[in-house]
Point group: C2
């Protein structure tokens, strides 16, 4: 894949997300997602492909799958930028239907930070178009609120 | 289940959504969803439970899973109200985290229709709280644009 050859990109450890609704391994015939973090500008990139069980309208990727992808990638991106967050609002615009099985790139970044609020943007694009884009409002939580999960979280995100 | 005993509710044929990202049968350890349509007011109700592979934050349902559920249910509801639609915008508010494994009810309805635009609302609630709510903007398409899928669609939605 092109992302593996880009020295500015670091492949994210996807095993951490084993049970994730979006990127978990039970997900192979739905979505296949690999994340890459670019530390120099804090962008998260992903290569994404879809299988038959990602269906929404007949022959096309489910709008909910794209919403879930964008939510997930914006959240993970915020964490790699050292913001321990959860989603407060997700606003998704569907611009052009995405046929099943097309390779796509997802890119997300932070637009601004105001106190505990982290405002993010993400888009899912193919060679032909931006299919879907989203804005997210994420809210920072105290890292301690993640309790027993704190140590694996620290290791994953370098916190 | 309580919904099966309500004479105003009609159980939706879920086999139609075999490959759906949200309600497909490959989904058992993620989301289990059954839809019921109430013709008298056009509401769609669902009972929803989540398995271990619906994870987002550790121990909680993924925000993207809830977004996908709300998108799916609002769309299906619009179709049962005789609007052949696809999603144009989805706006989701996360009010309270939802632990994995809690039984929830999802209810959606149409707020208004303006020409080709169908504005919808949906919420996902448990006995304790409304966890997530969403507004959707769906756009009507000519039924003919569904091509080879037209006949099964007609049968599912009584169009």
């Amino acid at each position: 894949m092109r992302f593996d050859d880009d020295p500015r990109l670091r492949a994210v450890n996807m095993a951490f997300y084993e049970n994730s609704f979006v990127t978990g391994t039970a997900n192979r015939n739905r979505l296949r997602v690999r994340y890459f973090f670019r530390a120099e500008d804090g962008h998260l990139l992903a290569d994404v492909s879809s299988g038959a069980d990602a269906m929404g309208p007949p022959g096309f990727v489910h709008g909910g799958a794209m919403a879930a992808l964008l939510d997930d990638a914006m959240g993970v991106m915020a964490w790699f930028n050292k913001h321990p967050v959860v989603t407060a609002n997700l606003n998704v615009d569907y611009k052009q239907s995405l046929p099943l099985g097309i390779d796509t790139v997802l890119e997300t970044w932070i637009e601004r930070v105001e106190g505990k609020k982290v405002y993010t943007y993400g888009e899912l694009r193919s060679d032909k178009a931006i299919h879907t884009c989203a804005r997210g409002l994420f809210v920072r939580l105290p890292l301690e609120s993640f309790g027993e999960y704190l140590e694996p979280i620290r290791r994953q995100y370098g916190l």
